[in-house]
Symmetry: none
Subunit: 184 residues, 2 copies
DNA sequence: GACATATGAATGAACG
DNA sequence: CGTTCATTCATATGTC
């Protein structure tokens, strides 16, 4: 249905049909909001899957530059993408964890040590391994209660020297993506 | 399992018509997407009317659990429901407000049975009153809150010449009616 | 059955 | 980083 596009607030004459396939900027040159192409999403996802979670400014810059080949994109888009993707992965996991009908405790510890080269491309300083502690229980369930002393407020906890890393058991069933990124 | 859509990105591709597995109704049990039963909707609406707008993760869990009695439901459904309901109410109100000269529609409410105790059940920390801080001005300033040196050009012209806030006509101060739900 | 609307789901952007 | 808002996509439902 039509929105409140009756006058103001319509900062951009966005085209309704977004399903413009893989047309990079086909969705309108004057986009009000970044609309990633399938290639871009594919690449970002691959990077994420490779373990990249919080790309540095430099990494973001590089990624953005490369992705611009597939369509209009800005650095902040990349930044936001990773922020959102990471946040939602957690959020989703949390929301699903408790209403899971079939209480199946399955820790999938088998994973392929396949090429992580993709993430390596953008690596500049830190290994940025996936050091996520699987949240079986919501830590911060109640409105308040933010135990500052328990918060691992580490800005530098990226070292993760001895932290054991566990991969997400999410369904990362991805096709044998022949990603190469030779331009890097 | 009740799989379905959980998939991340299935957009972009103009894949019209994703198999004609158009399933049945609420009782059909084969849903690509959650189809709330009338009881579920009624309860959710009642909660919303009671003042609940953005339930916490914890509340969502409880609500979901209780609603599961009436049919298949997941936490994320509850989450999305409130998200959408709130957004659309706001959207509707916004649409009406700007050229509100004679609009008599004003929406009607078919509810006469109010309950505050209902919302109380799920209340955990604060009286989630409809205290919504309308954004009158875009706090979108330049070179501000740059995450990690990232330069986010907030060139987004979030023209917020929007309307001013209008207090909810929906009353949240219902009399302490005794509406008890059996399962609670 | 096409069309219009209601609504579940997703996600880009941004706030605190 | 967790949450929230806005917008859009996709599908269910209702009407003719």
């Amino acid at each position: 249905m039509d929105e409140g596009m009756s006058g103001f607030l319509m900062r951009s004459g966005s085209v309704r049909g977004k399903s413009g396939s893989t047309a990079s900027s086909a969705t309108g040159t004057k986009c009000g909001r970044w609309n990633p192409t399938t290639e871009q999403v594919k690449l970002l996802t691959e990077l994420f899957r490779s373990g990249l979670r919080t790309p540095s400014t430099d990494q973001i810059q590089k990624i953005s530059t490369q992705l611009s080949f597939y369509g209009k994109i800005e650095s902040k888009n990349v930044f936001y993408w990773f922020q959102n993707h990471k946040a939602r992965e957690r959020q989703k996991r949390r929301k699903v964890s408790f209403d899971d009908k079939d209480v199946v405790i399955r820790r999938q510890n088998s994973f392929n040590t396949s090429s992580q080269s993709l993430a390596d491309m953008y690596r500049v300083s830190e290994p940025d391994r996936v050091i996520e502690t699987l949240q079986l229980f919501p830590i911060n369930s109640f409105g308040e209660s933010e135990p500052e002393n328990l918060r691992l407020h580490g800005n530098e906890c990226r070292d993760s020297s001895t932290m054991f890393s566990c991969t997400m058991d999410e369904e990362i069933e991805h096709p044998p993506l022949e990603l190469r990124l030779s331009f890097l």
